[in-house]
Assembly symmetry: C2
Homo-oligomer: 204 residues x 2
């Protein structure tokens, strides 16, 4: 009786570990994640995950990889929006939406105490790709002669800060715990998206 239903083929266990990890984090918080609980959840011994991940950090790195890939994709989608103003709005909303839909991924991506991207080139490459998507978006805004004539770098940094701040605050800011506030959080994100769109859609 080698395994339970959770992993019926080799290579299944790898994904099962990732899925169980994300599920556990989303239901009980980051602090609750332990390799042993995940292994138990997946119906294997506490050592089985080590055949697919070098260590605990490698699991986080794999999750961060998934997260950055999703962020890059969403950013590129937003970049395709025609009007500059709507593009800014779409970018901020997408960033916040990703954080809300995959909170475990999002937190892990930006917690260096869990993953040091330097040690995981896959995840690092995905992060750089997400950044590249954001730069392309900033360039498109610059090309549209928008944002009061700010430099491309300034547009990128500022837009990124607004996106990231809104997403972080929705997850871990005053809103967190205070109300389990889905509706409030969505409203917050939309407000920041609309405001940034209006502030940035001034000709330069």
């Amino acid at each position: 009786m080698p395994r339970t239903a959770a992993a019926s083929k080799p290579e299944d266990l790898r994904q099962a570990v990732l899925d169980a990890s994300v599920k556990l984090i989303e239901s009980e918080g980051l602090a609750a994640l332990s390799l042993r609980r995940v292994a138990k959840e997946a119906g294997v011994s506490h050592q089985a995950p080590y055949h697919h991940f070098a260590n605990r950090e490698a699991i986080f790195a794999a999750i961060a990889h998934e997260g950055f890939a999703g962020l890059a994709h969403a950013t590129r989608e937003a970049t395709r929006v025609k009007s500059a103003r709507a593009r800014v709005r779409a970018a901020v909303r997408a960033y916040v939406r990703i954080a809300m839909e995959r909170p475990a991924h999002f937190r892990i991506m930006f917690r260096p105490e869990l993953v040091n991207l330097m040690n995981h080139s896959d995840a690092k490459d995905a992060a750089h790709d997400a950044y590249a998507a954001l730069v392309a978006l900033g360039q498109s805004l610059k090309d549209d002669r928008v944002a009061a004539g700010l430099s491309t770098q300034a547009i990128v940094d500022t837009l990124w800060s607004a996106c990231h701040g809104a997403a972080s605050l929705v997850l871990d800011g005053l809103y967190s715990g205070a109300k389990e506030a889905d509706p409030d959080a969505v409203a917050f994100g939309d407000r920041v998206a609309d405001s940034m769109a209006r502030l940035m859609s001034i000709d330069g």
Copy 2:
């Protein structure tokens, strides 16, 4: 021989524990913090801190309290700046500066897996006070008929997001680890501050 030099009077140990915790986090990262290491650092037994803090989370709560108090103070300082544009700039710069000067405090303030503010009313009150300071700043901008006529709530949310995003990215974003980048980080923060100031200083 009850204690070492670290704590020579009662009540000293409390602050010694907090200081040792912050120092340990700043030198080895959040993951390195353990009560037992802190106790050893302070020259007491592994149980001594429990006479000043109910548990590990209470230590984090005390640090978060310090951090929010500093943030509220800095925000109120920035609010005193005369011109609206310079006020925005000062607020963003102050927020980022606080994050860089006290990285351990800043991270703990926004990591619910370490402190649930709901369980620590001191820290929660300090957080609400910091938010109140930010709202006052937003109101002052609204009074100056700035930020393209956005509502006060929109101004507050957007400014907060930009501040928080810039600070978070400087600490835990792509810049982190990539270069240990003090100069780059400062430049990043200044760029966001200048950009937000320009974007927001449009009459409404």
